[in-house]
């Protein structure tokens, strides 16, 4: 996870509470978070906030596969936010795909985490998504590009929280792999997720000098 691999800009959208523009390798995603506001009567829960994540493709047409990715993002964000602190409100996170050159899911998850951090909404923990490809010869490549993904036997995306002990938050896999390779991928991705957390720290440091 070399340095120039992740590039991010926070707070670039004026009228949203939080926004992040993250590019991971060649895929870029922009996220906007509109903070706790008055919900529709039907969706409002009396003791917590409802979190609503929508995922938009460039072309705007929503296929069945995008609904799956949206479901994964929704449950990952919902777990990270302290929803009890904002009762009877709605938090809307909109993830917009700007360019998809592979690893789209991990880019979206990392961007949504940074957007939530920028929005100033209380969070239990941060989460970092890392994806890896497994080739025929059982080697594990981190952050593969498109050619490596297509030629790989399996392609995994794992998400970890920044708690001390290692605990898996989200796992989405395609292709076939054995249990052993799954455990090796977990170790590798957990190590890589530490670097993502460092990247988060650097970005927050840069943006918090002025306040």
């Amino acid at each position: 996870m070399s340095e120039e691999f992740l590039k991010c800009q926070l707070g670039f959208l004026g009228n949203t509470e939080g926004s992040a523009y993250l590019s991971q390798g060649k895929s870029t995603v922009s996220v906007s978070v509109v903070g706790p506001f008055e919900p529709k009567a039907s969706k409002c829960m009396y003791d917590r906030a409802t979190v609503d994540v929508t995922f938009r493709r460039k072309t705007g047409s929503i296929t069945v596969h995008d609904k799956m990715l949206e479901g994964i993002m929704q449950s990952t964000c919902e777990k990270a936010l302290v929803v009890e602190q904002y009762p009877r409100t709605t938090i809307v996170v909109t993830v917009q795909e700007m360019q998809d050159r592979g690893n789209l899911l991990s880019t979206c998850l990392n961007a949504s985490c940074m957007g939530l951090m920028n929005s100033g909404i209380a969070m239990h923990h941060l989460y970092a998504a890392v994806s890896c490809a497994v080739t025929e010869k059982e080697e594990i490549i981190l952050n593969p590009d498109e050619t490596q993904i297509n030629s790989s036997v399996a392609y995994l995306t794992l998400v970890f929280a920044n708690t001390e002990t290692r605990c898996l938050l989200t796992s989405h896999t395609t292709g076939e792999f054995s249990q052993k390779t799954y455990m090796d991928c977990m170790d590798k991705c957990y190590a890589a997720s530490k670097e993502v957390f460092n990247f988060y720290q650097k970005v927050i440091k840069k943006s918090s000098i002025f306040n």
């Binding site: 926070l10 707070g11 509470e17 939080g18 903070g35 706790p36 506001f37 008055e38 302290v82 602190q85 904002y86 009762p87 009877r88 409100t89 951090m117 920028n118 929005s119 100033g120 909404i121 209380a122 969070m123 239990h124 923990h125 941060l126 929280a161 920044n162 708690t163 530490k194 957390f197 460092n198 988060y200 720290q201 927050i204 440091k205 943006s207 918090s208 002025f210 306040n211």
Partner: protein, 236 residues
């Protein structure tokens, strides 16, 4: 991981109880933890990414970039009247719900001579009661040495982030003082990031507003330079 210490960047999920409590000699109850920190079964966890601050070892909080105002008691806020009901105004103070301002919550207001404030007017008020479970209640009753509350006629309203509004309210900020020397103006800075400015002519009001907005990301030393350019633009 960068060491977790005061005036240092911390991330949500970091455990800062060992720094805050600093050994067990002082009791846990004295310490008050402010916004950005949460105490979960006797551990203090950070829940917003920002800089850990502490003030004479009793108050701990995290300074983080925030735009959405969460109502807190005894804050001075500037709001726009959104609706009128039979016995109260509904005021939009930028929080998740409209705040309620009863007719009688004005200085020496009685049932007879009610204040006539129309929908869309700007109001300065103090938050009387704020809980996450109910919409907050504000009041314009002035007490001892408070600023004048109530309706703010004509003037100009701008929105800034909450952190910048906090910095401007601190008395030692030179910007407002130097602008005041150039041209006389009135200003009310709400804790909810809404600033009301009023001066003799509309041109100067807008100039002051733009000056404040531009100064958000400037260092302290090049503020005089900004004020000079503001003065030059006003004279022609």
């Amino acid at each position: 991981m960068i060491s977790v210490d005061f005036n240092n960047v911390v991330l949500p999920g970091n455990d800062v109880s060992h720094i805050v409590l600093k050994g067990d000699n002082c009791k846990r109850s004295e310490k008050t933890i402010g916004p950005g920190l949460k105490s979960v079964d006797n551990k203090i966890i950070v829940c917003n990414g920002g800089v850990l601050r502490c003030k004479d070892d009793k108050y701990f909080w995290i300074e983080y970039f925030k735009k959405k105002y969460i109502p807190a008691k005894d804050d001075v806020v500037v709001g726009i009247v959104a609706a009128k009901t039979s016995e109260m105004y509904k005021v939009d103070i930028g929080a998740s719900e409209l705040a309620t301002l009863p007719y009688l919550a004005f200085t020496n207001a009685t049932k007879k001579n009610r204040p006539d404030i129309k929908v869309g007017n700007v109001v300065a008020a103090k938050i009387k009661m704020a809980t996450p479970f109910m919409e907050s209640e504000i009041s314009c009753v002035e007490y001892a040495n408070s600023i004048i509350f109530g309706q703010l006629e004509n003037g100009f309203l701008i929105n800034v982030s909450l952190n910048y509004a906090l910095r401007l309210r601190k008395s030692n900020s030179k910007l407002l003082y130097q602008l005041g020397q150039m041209v006389p103006y009135e200003i009310v800075i709400g804790a909810n990031g809404k600033i009301w400015i009023h001066s003799a002519s509309i041109r100067t009001t807008i100039a002051i507003g733009n000056a404040i907005l531009n100064a958000e990301h400037l260092e302290e030393e090049d503020i005089p330079q900004l004020v000079k350019s503001f003065n030059k633009s006003l004279n022609i």
